[in-house]
């Protein structure tokens, strides 16, 4: 690398800084520029800064984000989150590798076009399985769809859409005017809602219609995206689900009168013309319509109570006035007027609010400990490192309600006496980062953040720390290490961060969702919050509902709602006539609760009693085609890779558990392995240093507890769910008509073409990719 090309490093160091805690931002900037981390650039960083080479290298190899080899022109992320896993992420990755000619064991094709990367979770679980090509997300992928996905991506690349502009001023006055709300969370955008948004705006402009096309945050009904809502004065709101951008014109035409006589005439003519020319212009747009009183919609929304997601689907995430008009910043103003911060903490304590990040530690007492510390400097941190595969609550909250999270964090800061805070957000959530950044910018511009919080004499500085891809950084001591510019390795608690945290100062760390509840609690009072929920778990909980469920999405329900109510009423049950088998709650730290315990209420204690945990709120529904041994194996695969590697039980113990599970899944298990697995799981849980290791065995322990017979079947070489590829084979039945479709689609040529004859599958070549079964029009492929 020529020295002139290292000028970028020099400039970056000058811009970002040379202190040890600048290491992650520096590496991120360098990678952004070179697309990987060239060694000369790293040497240059060491030469220019106070960062030790050992520290730099330790960090550069710890976080998933950092690459050490040049990459192809495009990066393909294959999501391996829980929902994607159970819907066939492995098959998708195999097919993608074939499609893109990426050799086994490599990550880039010989032409250097595509580099494939596995991602723990993109947080678009309702679209599973998901792949992301550069910044374009594609959902519901199957092997057969891939060629179209790739060509679509390449055509988009040729004409890239303009990136989201943030903080744009509203085009029209907001009172008394019709509005079209378009959900623009990342999952909606993955389904094309950004294109729809642009098309609607264009149509409205073209017709000069009296309507404001407005971006709103997540609507929650992810299963029906892109979703738009039309709100006109004095009329009930109208929803349209799964609208295509091509339909934008008709939606606008149908609902809104253009301004000016000439345009009205032309509209009438245009419609006539359409009818004449196309003949089906009349086809009712109603096929997209959803009525809020529609049983599906009311079942989905009926049980929900919105606190963290208050005004969901109505607020433009970055419209400061609108947030303020909807009670925004009332709570922080009240807090700043309050001379006694202890009373704020009392309110939070009396509300019964508990941490929503997983462990459920009561928030009030935690705030109190930080408040009590006699220290000149204290910090607050918003933990937005939502790494659990199968969870996307925090992403949605950050994307949809950036001001609310910031307000919650500011309240916490005032309550504990901190003047500096950080929002630690995982880098897999670029939209969340950009919206929080825009929100912070706006608040600073207005003078509401910085020297005078909301104009009061209270300095508060907030900044963003982007994670670099490490699940363990959700653990608070690891998160602190990461902000300090270290490898994200947890340490023994006590001392707790509340006593000695960031740079050894008292530090309050709360999860995104916890903070999102705080303004509501201050505004409405602790009693209102405590009135919801159960005896020990108050208020509501946001869940990311995904997997084998009709209506997946983002939901907020009172604590104590049962799993059955969530899965069957809100989620509409399991699709395709399959059988509801279990829910996986809490991701890699959680457990599988079987269908027969579906009446378990979701609160911290009840879930703990059945071996699961609340976790951050990922809730993946499993049906009878899901193998519980495979689920356990899947999670252990995740944890042994995500372990920071510090302590023996977690680093080696989870790997040995995985070894045992892999033997089971490939039919090589022996009877004594079950007892060994169980004993090891308990010891890993006991012996591990931090929460990651202590809870990593939960998926194994709960599946062993509730689905032992499935483990035993694997010992006998059977996978009852027909999922473990080493234990199943595909076979053509007598129903085969010899249509050759399977042979044409088989990606490994394991089915010889035999027109008009019953086909056969070469078991040696077959990779159990399931393609033949899916394409067969005669249902003539069976799995044995």
């Amino acid at each position: 690398m020529a020295s002139d090309s290292l000028q970028f490093v020099d400039q970056t160091v000058a811009r970002i800084g040379r202190s040890p805690d600048a290491v992650i931002p520096l590496l991120q900037a360098v990678q952004e520029h070179y697309r990987y981390l060239p060694k000369p650039a790293l040497d240059r960083i060491c030469a220019l800064t106070d960062i030790r080479p050992a520290t730099l290298w330790g960090i550069a190899t710890f976080y998933d984000q950092f690459r050490h080899r040049p990459v192809g022109k495009h990066i393909v992320h294959v999501c391996h989150g829980t929902a994607c896993h159970v819907t066939g992420a492995d098959r998708v990755e195999d097919a993608l590798r074939r499609q893109l000619h990426i050799p086994p064991g490599e990550d880039t094709d010989p032409q250097q076009q595509f580099t494939i990367e596995s991602v723990a979770c993109l947080g678009c679980c309702t679209l599973a399985p998901v792949v992301k090509l550069d910044q374009h997300t594609y959902g519901h992928i199957t092997a057969e769809k891939l060629p179209r996905v790739v060509s679509d991506f390449l055509s988009l690349e040729a004409a890239p859409p303009s990136p989201e502009t943030v903080g744009q001023p509203p085009a029209l006055a907001r009172s008394g005017i019709s509005q079209i709300h378009v959900g623009l969370g990342s999952c909606c955008m993955a389904k094309g809602s950004d294109l729809l948004f642009a098309a609607l705006k264009e149509a409205a402009q073209e017709f000069n219609a009296e309507v404001l096309v407005k971006r709103v945050g997540c609507v929650g009904m992810c299963h029906r995206t892109p979703l738009i809502e039309i709100r006109s004065p004095n009329q009930p709101a109208k929803f349209y689900a799964a609208v295509e951008p091509a339909e934008a014109h008709r939606v606008v035409r149908q609902h809104f009168r253009p301004r000016g006589l000439w345009r009205r005439i032309s509209r009438a003519c245009g419609e006539t013309l359409d009818r004449l020319l196309v003949g089906e212009a009349d086809e009712p747009i109603e096929r997209y319509a959803l009525n809020q009183r529609d049983p599906n919609v009311s079942a989905f929304l009926g049980r929900q109570v919105h606190i963290a997601t208050e005004h969901f689907g109505h607020l433009d995430p970055l419209d400061l006035e609108e947030y303020e008009a909807h009670d925004g910043f009332q709570a922080i103003r009240r807090v700043l007027q309050q001379p006694q911060p202890d009373q704020i903490i009392d309110t939070v304590e009396r509300s019964g609010l508990r941490g929503r990040g997983g462990a459920g530690f009561p928030s009030g007492p935690k705030w109190k400990v930080v408040r009590r510390q006699d220290a000149p400097v204290k910090y607050v941190i918003c933990n937005g490192d939502e790494g659990d595969p199968g969870a996307f609550m925090d992403r949605m909250l950050l994307e949809s309600f950036p001001y609310r999270i910031i307000e919650g964090l500011a309240i916490a800061a005032v309550a504990v006496g901190a003047h500096e805070g950080f929002l630690y957000i995982r880098r897999e959530y670029p939209l969340a980062v950009s919206r929080i950044r825009a929100a912070l910018d706006q608040l600073e511009q207005r003078g509401w953040l910085g020297d005078r919080l909301m104009g009061f004499d209270y300095p508060l500085r907030l900044s963003i720390k982007e994670g670099a891809g490490a699940f363990v950084c959700g653990e608070e001591t690891a998160l602190i290490a990461s902000i300090e510019g270290e490898r994200g390795m947890p340490r023994l608690r006590p001392p707790f961060p509340a006593e000695s945290g960031l740079w050894n100062r008292p530090t309050l760390i709360n999860n995104v969702e916890t903070l999102a509840m705080v303004p509501w609690i201050i505004r409405r009072g602790s009693e209102a919050f405590a009135a919801l929920g159960t005896a020990t778990s108050k208020g509501t909980k946001v869940f990311a509902l995904a997997g084998k469920v009709q209506r997946g999405g983002l939901i907020e329900v009172p604590m104590g709602t049962t799993i059955r109510e969530i899965v069957e009423e809100i989620g509409g049950g399991v699709p395709h006539g399959r059988k509801f088998k279990a829910v996986q709650i809490g991701g890699p730290s959680g457990g599988c609760v079987p269908a027969r315990l579906a009446d378990t209420p979701v609160d911290y204690e009840s879930l703990g009693a059945v071996g699961a945990i609340m976790g951050s709120g990922g809730l993946v529904v499993l049906d009878d085609t899901d193998c519980m041994v495979d689920i356990a194996r899947y999670f252990l695969q995740f944890t042994q890779d995500q372990s920071c590697g510090r302590c023996t039980f977690c680093r080696v113990g989870t790997r040995r558990m995985l070894d045992l599970l892999e033997r089971l899944c490939t039919g090589k298990g022996r009877p004594e392995h079950l007892a060994e697995l169980e004993q090891l799981a308990r010891q890993v849980s006991q012996g591990s240093l931090c929460g990651l290791g202590k809870t990593a065995p939960n998926p194994v322990l709960t599946t062993l507890r509730y689905f032992r017979s499935e483990y035993e079947a694997h010992l006998a070489g059977r996978c009852p769910a027909r999922r473990c590829t080493a234990l199943i084979r595909y076979q053509v039945t007598a129903d085969c008509t010899g249509c050759t479709i399977c042979a044409q689609h088989c990606p490994v040529d394991a089915i010889p073409m035999a027109p008009y004859q019953r086909h056969t599958i070469n078991q040696e070549l077959c990779t159990r990719c399931d393609t033949c079964k899916r394409v067969c029009p005669h249902n003539a492929i069976e799995v044995l």
């Binding site: 290298w57 340490r491 890779d641 023996t648 080696v652 040995r656």
Partner: protein, 531 residues
């Protein structure tokens, strides 16, 4: 001054003390691998876990990091905690690529430290080589001629690319003959007399091996033999294979150690009965070779289908003070096995005599790497003499010359670990009865990085304690060391793919000293440890 209770004992400690400090104050041995005072707690190995109950809540914590607080109740030596620690050792060992003991040593039924002896031959340190040999073998010159040498089957040079296994038995004989030629015969030390006497019936290999052990323990031994000359089956070996003078010379050594031989003394109903022996000696060992049913009856011992009926683990018969071993119990073909059985029974008999619970001694602990892949073997071959196996030029009867022996010794691959004997992992794994093979797994490849300044880094043996990283950082090493990667695949390395030793320009010696295993060693650590 916090006061707390550990394993039922109350202790008062200085403020800020850890639970490990408190336990050590009480003399409770909590194992540690990653703890070094100057580095502070690493909380990596987790073998120091204890259970703490405080305010009604119990939790398991690493004692090196957890601070002692008043009123804590701490459990250390409980089954639960010992099991947990054992699992921690077994997990570490499951990813520990290296052998503590060489394969030949592990195979040797008499536990001869073969690579150590060979190193002593190679450096021409015959005195120590004889001591090493004498430590393990009752009849070195006999075994050096007659042993079936199972050790040589385990030698890693035995494969196609090794040029033949090391000539271990010939080297053994070379040392043993030197011993016989020496004026003092290098007789092993005996412990002070215990005042106990033992009758050993049979003075063949089994009885002699037992006597060799028991004499050293300070017991008086009388070997009774029905034949006119002691030696048992060894007297039936042809003179070329075993010149009688050699056997006699080795038997002389026994006499010098104080053994009594009572020859031409049949034992049985019509001569000295078992009862008689039991009355006149503190214990009896039957090592008389294969016995007929009549002879067994005459001895008054219960019979199994193949010999004297004993507890197969200990060699004890239905009479608590009568033991039996070797072909008297079950026919034994190999000489070296017969001797190891004699020694094993002697160990149990010794425990009986001194009032210890009778438990067969377990083999020394060793991590086991198993078969090596070709590139791994090359790493070992690289530092050994490339010549093929040598045979004594003057014929088998004459044995190796000094030069031949040293040349052959140079072929040894030294498969044992340089930290053997000083390794904390080995020490505690043995103490906790850890099974290095509890977890079946895909083993990582053995790697060895040799560096200037004679530093050797074997990453497979690293347990990721982080001590070297910390020492390098404290010393402000310009490059330093770091953890690289994440999860199961974390390794310790110098940054930016530089050689390991580049990270240790100042503090290599300190890191070698504090490495809890044999991951960082000096090339010549072998000599340092053993000389």
């Amino acid at each position: 001054m916090p006061e707390l209770i550990i394993d039922g004992q109350s202790v008062e400690v200085a403020p800020g003390a850890t639970l490990l400090d408190a336990a050590r104050q009480l003399g409770i041995d909590i194992p540690t691998l990653c703890y070094l005072e100057q580095c502070g707690p690493m909380t990596s190995c987790l073998v120091c876990v204890v259970k703490v109950t405080q305010n009604g809540r119990a939790r398991i914590v690493p004692s090196c990091a957890a601070k002692a607080e008043p009123g804590m109740v701490v459990e250390s030596e409980t089954t639960e905690i010992r099991d947990l620690r054992r699992t921690a050792f077994e997990l570490l060992l499951s990813d520990h690529v290296g052998d503590c003991l060489s394969p030949c040593h592990r195979i040797c039924p008499l536990d001869l430290n073969i690579p150590r002896m060979i190193r002593q031959i190679e450096t021409n340190d015959l005195d120590r080589a004889i001591t090493t040999l004498r430590q393990a073998l009752a009849l070195p010159a006999v075994l050096g001629r007659l042993c079936s040498a199972p050790c040589q089957n385990g030698c890693r040079r035995g494969g196609s690319c090794g040029g033949g296994s090391a000539a271990i038995r010939d080297l053994e004989r070379f040392v043993a003959d030197a011993c016989l030629r020496s004026p003092d015969k290098y007789l092993p030390a005996r412990k002070p007399s215990t005042g106990k006497s033992i009758a050993i019936v049979g003075s063949g290999p089994t009885g002699l091996a037992a006597a060799y052990y028991l004499l050293r323990q300070g017991h008086a031994c009388t070997l009774l033999d029905r034949q006119p000359r002691p030696g048992g089956s060894l007297r039936r070996v042809d003179d070329t294979s075993l010149p009688p003078a050699i056997l006699d010379a080795e038997l002389d050594a026994f006499k010098q150690m104080g053994a009594q031989f009572q020859v031409s003394t049949p034992v049985g109903a019509d001569a000295l009965s078992t009862d008689h022996l039991r009355r006149n000696y503190d214990a009896v060992l039957i090592a008389a070779g294969e016995l007929s049913k009549t002879e067994l009856d005459a001895l008054g011992l219960l019979a199994s289908p193949v010999g004297v009926r004993v507890n197969t683990a200990t060699g004890q018969t239905e009479h608590p003070n009568v033991f039996a071993a070797g072909s008297a119990v079950k026919p034994v073909k190999q000489l070296v096995r017969a001797m190891s059985e004699g020694q094993a029974a002697a160990e149990c008999l010794h425990q009986f005599l001194v009032g210890l619970p009778i438990r067969p001694l377990e083999k020394a602990f060793s991590s086991v790497m198993g078969r090596l892949e070709a590139p791994e073997l090359d790493l070992f071959l690289k530092s050994a003499s490339p010549i093929p196996r040598t045979a004594p030029a003057q014929g088998l009867g004459a044995g190796f010359t000094v030069d031949e022996a040293r040349g052959e010794a140079a072929r040894c691959l030294h498969c044992d670990c340089r930290a053997e004997g000083s390794c904390n992992l080995q020490h505690y794994a043995e103490l906790y009865g850890a099974n290095p093979n509890r977890f079946a797994r895909q083993r990582r490849l053995f790697e060895q990085h040799r560096h200037p300044a004679r530093v050797i880094f074997e990453p497979g043996k690293c347990i990721l304690c982080g001590i070297c990283i910390h020492i390098a950082q404290q010393a402000a090493e310009p490059l330093g060391l770091t953890f690289v990667g994440r999860g199961f695949n974390v390794q310790v390395a110098a940054p930016l793919d530089r050689p390991f030793s580049d990270g240790l320009q100042k503090v290599a010696a300190e890191c070698v000293k504090h490495c809890p295993t044999g991951a960082i060693v000096f090339d010549d650590t072998f000599e340092r440890t053993h000389s």
